[in-house]
């Protein structure tokens, strides 16, 4: 599919803290781009023909658009709460559709098999019913009341607990996860997945976190998240077809997959099809 429907969206293209005056060459939806910092400390992203792309800086990352975004980047109000540790996890390149990377992030049923003894373990495999909706006003996919038993839900967790989650898809290649926060039961930890679509079948995944955790060393927080994503990568690079099928028939969803069903429906409705496969193809 083409990128027309997604061209006016914002995409992460690098960490603001790691900008380099010489620039770093990368791609955005098949177009070569250069991500640099100008003399005044502002990010400068140029496209293949040297044109300057729209940029903004938020959640530790530089965001760029190939088109003319008519909206600000989605809000994450919790990101501005005092007392949170902001964790720049870095980047993991995955040879998969950017949409498949997001869909995997929305999935909990794989925890016992892919993140064994960390995010899940047999025989605690059951996915209880949860709620999924497309919130029309915000135009976002939301899954709430998601519960799962986890042997080690976070670096700060000791022993198994039933963790509660909320998932949000505010942009076609981004997801925000709200998760039970072991040290502060009244708050949610925020874990995001920002995906840079390099091509329809290659993406750079930039996870980012805003946590209440004053004790765990930063290195351990980063390693924990990288371990999880490398486990996911072994799945994402071995799915057939590589592109995410948006029409029914190719794959078989169950009740546990309702978030994925809503995400696919929302993508199709908006013509967010870069990285997707349609029956007509």
């Amino acid at each position: 599919m083409n990128k027309i429907g997604m061209i006016d969206e914002w995409y992460p293209v690098g960490l603001f803290s790691q900008l380099d005056p010489n620039g770093r060459d990368t791609w955005l939806m098949g177009e070569p781009i250069r991500v640099a910092i100008d003399g005044e400390g502002n990010p400068l992203v140029t496209g293949g023909n040297g044109r300057v792309l729209a940029v903004c800086v938020r959640y530790g990352h530089v965001w760029a658009s190939l088109g003319k975004p008519d909206h600000d980047l989605f809000p994450i109000p919790e990101a501005d709460q005092p007392g949170r540790r902001l964790v720049e996890v870095g980047v993991v390149r995955v040879r998969c559709s950017p949409l498949r990377a997001v869909e995997n992030f929305l999935d909990i049923a794989h925890f016992p098999f892919v993140h064994t003894d960390i995010l899940g373990s047999e025989p605690h495999t059951e996915v209880q019913n949860y709620k999924v909706e497309i919130r029309e006003e915000e135009d976002e996919v939301w899954a709430t009341q998601v519960k799962f038993y986890q042997p080690q839900a976070a670096k700060s967790a000791s022993g198994g607990i039933t963790t509660e989650y909320m998932y949000r898809v505010p942009a076609p290649t981004c997801s925000v996860l709200y998760k039970t926060c072991p040290p502060r039961p009244s708050e949610w930890d925020v874990i995001t997945l920002f995906v840079q679509p390099l091509f329809e079948d290659v993406c750079d995944v930039w996870p980012w976190m805003a946590l209440y955790d004053d004790d765990t060393p930063m290195t351990d927080l980063i390693h924990f998240q990288q371990t999880i994503f490398l486990q996911d990568r072994s799945i994402l690079e071995n799915q057939i077809p590589t592109l995410l099928p948006l029409d029914p028939g190719m794959e078989i969803p169950t009740r546990a997959d309702l978030t994925s069903v809503a995400y696919r429906r929302w993508l199709k409705r908006h013509n967010y099809t870069y990285g997707a496969q349609l029956v007509a193809q």
Partner: protein, 217 residues
């Protein structure tokens, strides 16, 4: 060349390379399959794609008499039907959820599989026994050229200059690769087995060199 292997037996692996509870990818003509052996010892070839989320089943795991997908643990019987969806332990999976399975036969230490309904039994090894398998980065034609002799209709080839008692069983893997099963006389001793292995290694290098030259020409 094996241009159309639909309905004919393909030597997908040596029995000794597929122990109980193991799963591996294999090719039958243009299809990739998940080849696995159950706890009781039965070999099965299933389509290499879980119908749930498209994950390769050859990355999965075997428990008892079933193959499970590594992604969400959906498990499949030797007949192909889905037995269990761990996210919904109380649910009996509908009959419609299944993976295609292929005919498998095992004899003389070789696992054979076929797409479609093969006529008759796979060929016998007639006094030969499997030694090892080698994947060669060259199409069958280059192996024939390197060996100085053609492959017969059953896929067997006896290299002209190799030690006597050496026979190769070839299987086209597509994309310019060939799976070579090395066979040797049943009574061959250790030194003959080592010599055969070295001869095949030399043949592999010659075939790959021819393939590289061919690609560069």
């Amino acid at each position: 060349m094996q241009s159309d292997t639909a309905g004919s037996w393909v030597p997908v692996a040596l029995s000794s390379d597929l122990p109980a509870l193991a799963v591996m990818p294999a090719r039958i003509a243009s299809e990739t399959v998940a080849l696995w052996r159950s706890a009781s010892g039965r070999a099965t070839a299933s389509a290499d794609r879980c119908p749930h989320r498209g994950m390769r089943l050859s990355h999965g795991f075997v428990r008892g008499e079933a193959l499970s997908c590594i992604y969400h643990g959906w498990s499949y019987a030797q007949g192909g039907q889905c037995l269990k969806i761990p996210a919904h332990p109380g649910l009996t999976p509908p009959e419609t959820i299944r993976v295609v399975t292929y005919a498998v036969a095992e004899q003389d230490g070789v696992v054979w599989a076929a797409a479609g309904a093969p006529a008759g039994e796979p060929p016998r090894l007639n006094g030969f026994a499997p030694l090892r398998s080698v994947t060669v980065d060259a199409a069958i034609g280059f192996i024939e050229a390197a060996a100085g002799v053609g492959m017969n209709a059953d896929g067997f080839l006896s290299p002209a200059d190799a030690p006597s008692g050496l026979c190769l069983l070839l299987s086209d893997q597509g994309a310019g690769q060939t799976l070579v099963h090395v066979l040797i006389g049943q009574d061959a001793g250790p030194s003959a087995r080592i010599a055969a292995s070295r001869a095949v290694e030399a043949l592999r290098r010659r075939a790959e060199a021819l393939s590289t030259e061919g690609a560069g020409a």
